[in-house]
Every structure is written in C-alpha cells, then in structure tokens.
C-alpha cells in the first residue's frame, strides 16, 4: 500500500484536532466527525444490497466518499454488514435488502420482538451465559437452534456423562458446523476491514473513528432481549428484577467494550444510547434505571484508559445534569436532539459535545440553511474548545450539497487559529 506523506500529515492533524477537543482544549479548528451510515454508498451510486453482498464494491464506494470529503474521524465499511454471513446464521432480528426487504436501496432494519419474555428474569439472573446460549442465541439465529441442547454448566464431576453426549445430536452438530463456516467467512470480512483501515490512514489520511462499540447496560437488556415497550412496562411491573438484571449486565458490558478496544488497539468506544430518551421515561426513572449503570460503565471505561463517545440518540433535554457526572475531559457526548446552547453551558467544563445538525435539514433543506445552522452551532459551542461538528443522527439520505456545506462552513468558519 502506498504511503503518502500528505496523508500522514493530514491523519496526524485530524487526530490531534479530535484529541484536543476531547481534552476540552481549542484545536486549530473544529473537528468534523460525521457518522455516515448509508450516505457514502448512496453518494457513489451503489445500492445497499450491493454494498452488503460485495465487500469490495462497498470499499470502492467509500473510496469515492473519502476522495471528496475529508472528515477528521471516519468509518470503514463496517456499517455495510455482510449479508451472506448473516444469511448463514438465519438471523431473526434483522432484515435487509437481500433478505426480507425488497427495495435494494433501503437500509437494513432491526426487528423488535421479545427475545426474552417477562417471566425469564430469574433464569437470566441465575446464569446469564446459559440463558444467552440456550435461549437468546437459538431464538436470534435460526441456524444455531441446536445450541439450546447444550448445558455445559451441569458438567461438574461425572455430570459430563450427561452433558457431552448431546454433541452427538445432529441439530447440535449442524449448529457447530454453521459456526465454523461463519468464523471462516467472518475472518475474511475482518481482513478486508483491516486492509481498508490501513488505506484510510495511509491514502486518505483519515483516522478510524472507532476502536470498539458498546451499549448502556439498560439497553443491553432493552434492545435485543426485552424490546422497547416491554422493558418500559418492566419499570412498573417488575422494577426489582429489572434493576437486578441491569446490575448483572453492567460488568459484562464493561468487559465486552474493554476487550473490543484491546483487540483493535484503539481507544475510542462508541456507545449507542437508545431507551433513555426524554419521551420514554421520567427524570426520576432515568435517574434510577438508566443512568447509574451507564455512569459506572463510562467511569470504568475511562479508568481503563478508553474514551467513550456517547452517541445520544433521540431527545435529551431533561437529562443534562446527569451527564455532568463523568470524569473531566475524557468523554464525548454526541447529541441528536438537544438545546446545544444549554448543553454547552451545563457540560462545557466537563465533556466534549458534538452533533445536532438535523438530518431532516440535510435531507430536505438547502446548503444555505445548513450553513446557517452550523455557524450558529460554532458560535455557541466552539469557544474554548470541547466541540466537534457532527450530524444529529447517522446520515443516510442527505443531499450531497448539504453535506458539502457542513464540511465547508466548518473548515472555513470553525477555525480557531491558522
């Protein structure tokens, strides 16, 4: 791979910019960190279906994006999840063009259901690993249904006389075969991503945005196990069990994120927040069910030398005081729907803030409107540092000229020093 001196320099400049902003210092200019999802592929004229079924096409499409846009943190083609590999598993909670969605240009979608029922809390609490292996995995992946027969925790002493023979069952063997095949394919994908990451660094001079992903402990349980509405009902109907499960999950969530960041060797952990939004629970409920475990999670990540990028989806107007309770200069809050002026006031001396350029504006507005919005953000949030430019939510169908306007105004108007 070619090593381009300009790229090297750009890479370092971008990274420094971001690190300064995180440390609440003024960089040379406001960093640009848009989380782009489908946008680069639409921009290059590739369908989502093609992107999900041909890694190299996805890579080539992203090349075009990076040739024309130069963000300070970028995403590799990781968000074009590999369709074939997911097909192999017969994933139940996901559909995409190629499986379940007809329109080849539609984004993939998560399908919500109760993959853990309301009466299964005790089972989960008794042994989360066994519950996940014998219930959650078989329900989530049709091709791994055989794993429900395994009960390795009963192997102690001569228990293995009973627990090992199930490996002779056809269903178990089929599932294990699928896993072997999956691992093989997955390695190919990871190799491809690893190569792309090097290309981003060496050719485009763009640092990779993420080292690992994570979720708030409440969302671990709420997203793919209980579902949004059921977990909200649990707040009223079985609060003690819910709290116990969240407590149980917190160290597991911490461990997963730390292990992920260790494996990649990169310290930025993106944490996608879902169920704690203003509309879904009261402030008291947020303070009791959502925040304490998230706060602990953030603290432990920071203690491990990592930088949590808290991607705050939805509206968080009523949560600002909570968000202050994190170590100073170590955390990024990337907001969707919030009063950024208020956020700067409340959080400015504690955490770097980002986000809030409305996606609807990027899709349906004009470049002049985008420019005006971004200028206001810069006026209010940039002074003193601790601010990065990002869109409100992940970008799918923005107008290219509006994305360009956001980049241009940040480059020109977001300058602290030449």
């Amino acid at each position: 791979m070619s090593m381009n001196a300009d790229a090297k320099q750009q890479y370092q400049a971008s990274l420094n910019r971001v690190l300064d902003a995180i440390k609440l210092k003024e960089p040379d200019r406001v960093p640009l960190i848009p989380v782009v999802e489908a946008f680069p592929y639409y921009y290059a004229g590739l369908t989502i279906q093609e992107g999900m079924y041909d890694y190299h096409k996805a890579g080539a499409a992203l090349d075009k994006f990076y040739a024309d846009f130069h963000p300070d943190l970028g995403w590799d083609p990781v968000l074009m999840y590999p369709g074939k590999i997911m097909e192999l598993l017969d994933m139940k909670w996901f559909q995409w063009p190629g499986r379940g969605i007809e329109d080849p240009n539609s984004m993939y979608q998560y399908i919500e259901k109760e993959y853990m029922t309301e009466d299964e809390y005790d089972e989960l609490l008794l042994d989360p690993t066994h519950f996940i292996q014998s219930k959650w995995i078989p329900r989530s992946f049709g091709a791994l249904d055989g794993l429900k027969y395994l009960a390795l925790r009963d192997s102690i002493w001569f228990g293995f006389f009973n627990t090992f023979p199930v490996f002779g069952r056809k269903e178990v063997q089929d599932s294990l075969q699928t896993l072997l095949k999956f691992a093989e394919e997955m390695n190919k994908w990871y190799t491809f991503l690893g190569e792309y990451d090097k290309k981003m660094e060496n050719e485009f001079g763009v640092p990779l945005a993420y080292g690992a992903w994570g979720y708030a402990p409440f969302d671990w349980l709420g997203d793919t196990m209980r579902g949004t509405v059921p977990i909200l009902r649990d707040i009223r109907e079985r609060p003690d069990k819910l709290l116990a499960a969240i407590e149980r999950f917190t160290p597991i969530a911490v461990e997963a994120s730390i292990n992920g960041a260790k494996a990649s060797g990169r310290p930025f952990v993106w944490v996608w927040l879902h169920k704690g939004v203003d509309q879904l629970m009261s402030k008291e409920q947020f303070g009791k069910f959502y925040w304490p475990s998230l706060r602990q999670y953030i603290q432990e990540l920071v203690d491990a030398g990592l930088t949590p990028f808290i991607y705050v989806e939805g509206s968080y107007h009523k949560r600002l005081e909570f968000l202050r309770e994190v170590p100073k200069g170590k955390v990024v809050y990337d907001f969707e729907d919030i009063d950024m002026f208020e956020a700067k006031k409340v959080l400015g001396d504690v955490a770097c803030i980002a986000g809030n350029v409305p996606n609807a504006l990027l899709s349906y507005g004009t470049p002049a409107e985008v420019e005006e919005y971004c200028k206001k953000l810069i006026d209010v949030c940039a002074p003193g540092g601790g601010f990065m430019m990002d869109t409100a939510a992940m970008v799918d169908d923005a107008k290219p000229e509006n994305m360009q306007a956001m980049f241009k105004v940040t480059r020109e108007y977001g300058v602290y020093r030449r």
Binding site: D103, S106, M107, Q109, I111, E112, T228, V229, L232, R233, I235, R236, E237, Q279, L280, M281, S282, Q285, G314, S315, D337, P358, N359, A360, L362, S363, Y364, A393, D396, D397
Partner: protein, 208 residues
C-alpha cells in the same frame, strides 16, 4: 362502584385487577358499552390528563394501555353490532411505508382515545393505498401519519398526495418532522407530541 374500581385499576395499570373487575361487572349485569365508556375509557382519560401534566410518563401509560387492552379483550366480543361509544370523531392513524416505529404513533392514539376520539389504527409500514382504502371504509375526519426516519418522510408526501382527492384532513408527526416539512408537502397540520396532537385534531375538526 365497580365501574370506578375498573377505572382505578386501569389508572394503576393493574391488568389482573382490571380483568377481574370487568368480569365482576359483567356478572352483575352491566352493559358492555357502559364498562367500556364509564370504566375503561374514562380511566384512559385520566391517564391522558396526567400524562399531559407530566405527572406520569411513558411506563405508566404503557401499563395502563395494556390493562385497557386486557379489559377490552373480555368485553369486545360481547358487544352486539356497532355500539355507541361516545365519539367526537374518527381518526385513522398509521406509520408510513418502510417505517416500523410505532411507540410515538401509539401514544398519539392513546391520547386521542383518552380524549374521546374513535381511532382506527393501521399499524406500521402502511402504504399510501392502505390509507386511501381505510378512508373509503371508515370515513374519518382526520388521518394521522407518523414517520421516524428521514428516508420514510418521502412516503408521507406520497400519502398526502394520494389522500388529496378524498378531502380528508391530514396531520403528520414524528421526531424528524417539522412544521415547514408539513407545509411543503401540503399536509393540513403538524404536532410535535401526543398532547399537541390532540389539540391539533380538535382544531382540524373545528372543535376549538
């Protein structure tokens, strides 16, 4: 009185109690329509008011809605024909095609029902033709469209256009929607949340 008990149990979100009280009421010979109007719906009305005043939040609303559903499941089969459920008007609600988000839409429905409107729910992923069909069938005064994705906002435009001929009033909402977008696509109204959605519905119906 038993109807008050139903109402209280519903407000508490106590599904089991609602069920047993509804059965008791039926055993005592109360009319199913009375159980619905003066027990379940009047409980939901209280929920609507408390939610509007921010005394209660989503979890409380959801358990109440669940309790209401449980009660309805018992009573509904016993209704003969189209009973008189006091209604200020009919609203057809749905999430547009390609979009599976329904929490916001359901909340709007709960609030509308709590305010005495009759609501037909088309669920999620509802195509323009489905709305057109529902308007023909149910003759609502108002149609409400919900969308949470920028990519499905375009479906709102399509649906508004498809409904133009029928003359029905169309309101739209969802997190990415703005007043300006509503104006641009020719919708009759936009509301940012479930509480104002009820006000908007009243306004569109000229109920002041």
């Amino acid at each position: 009185m038993i109807l008050d008990e139903i109402k209280e149990a519903l407000i508490e979100g106590n599904k089991e109690k609602v069920k047993s009280c509804v059965r008791q009421a039926l055993d005592a010979g109360l009319a199913p329509s009375a159980i619905i109007n003066d027990g379940l719906i009047s409980g939901m009305q209280v929920i609507g008011v408390r939610f509007r005043n921010e005394e209660i939040f989503m979890p409380e609303v959801l358990v109440a809605a669940n309790a209401m559903q449980a009660g309805m499941n018992i009573v509904k089969p016993l209704l003969i024909g189209d009973v008189e459920i006091a209604s200020k008007g009919t609203v057809v609600m749905g999430t547009v095609k390609g979009d599976l988000h329904d929490i916001g839409k359901n909340l709007v429905i709960i609030m509308l029902q709590g305010s005495g409107f009759n609501v037909i729910d088309l669920g999620v992923d509802a195509a323009a033709e489905k709305f057109v069909e529902a308007v023909k069938q149910h003759r609502p005064q108002v149609v409400g469209l919900s969308a949470l994705l920028t990519t499905t906002m375009a479906q709102m435009k399509r649906t508004v256009e498809a409904l133009k001929q029928s003359g029905v009033k169309v309101m739209i909402g969802g997190a990415p929607i703005t007043k300006k977008f509503a104006d641009d696509i020719g919708a009759d109204g936009y509301a940012p949340d479930a509480v104002t959605a009820v006000d908007l519905t009243r306004e569109l119906l000229g109920l002041g």
